[in-house]
Symmetry: C2
Subunit: 65 residues, 2 copies
Amino acid sequence: MNNRIRELRLGQGWSQADLADRLKVSRQTVNALERGRYDPSLPLAFAVARLFGLTVEAVFDPNLD
Amino acid sequence: MNNRIRELRLGQGWSQADLADRLKVSRQTVNALERGRYDPSLPLAFAVARLFGLTVEAVFDPNLD
DNA sequence: TGTTTTTGTAAAGTATGCTTTACATCTTGC
DNA sequence: GCAAGATGTAAAGCATACTTTACAAAAACA
C-alpha cells in the first residue's frame, strides 16, 4: 500500500527518529513504512494520520500499492 | 478500537458469512472484528470501508476503543 | 578531511492478524 | 419439536507487524 509518510515527515523537517519518537514506534518501523516493506497496523495508521492532521485516506492509498 | 461493522452489515441484511465472502476473509475474522477481539489490518480496514461506501474514519473509531 | 547525523538493512524474537477445522449454542420457521 | 441457518468460541498453525541490537553506508557539515 502506498503512503505519503516520507513526504509529510520531510515537510515537517523531521528525521525518521523524530517521527518514530512522536509515534512511539522504533526508527526501523518508520523506515520500513516509508520504504513500503509492510503496512502499519490500523491504530498506527490512525496515529500517523492524526499527527499530520490528515485522514487515513489522505495518507494511505490502497490503490497504488 | 471501536467499529460499526455489525451495524453496517445488518443494515444490508447480510450474515457474517455473507460479509466474509465479500471481504474475502473467513467468517471467524468477521466475528472477531465485530466483537472487538482484534483490529483489522489496514488493507482489510480499507476493504470494509469501501464495501460500505464509507471512509475508514466513518467505520473505525480509535478513540472509543 | 574527518566527525556526526541520518538512512538502510539484517537477524532473532514477540505480538497480532488471519486461516482451517471443529463443535456448541441461539434463532428462525416449518 | 425438529431441522437449518446464524453466531460464538477454541486450538493449532502461518503470515505480518513491530521490537532490539548491531553494523554499513550516505549525507551534512565543521
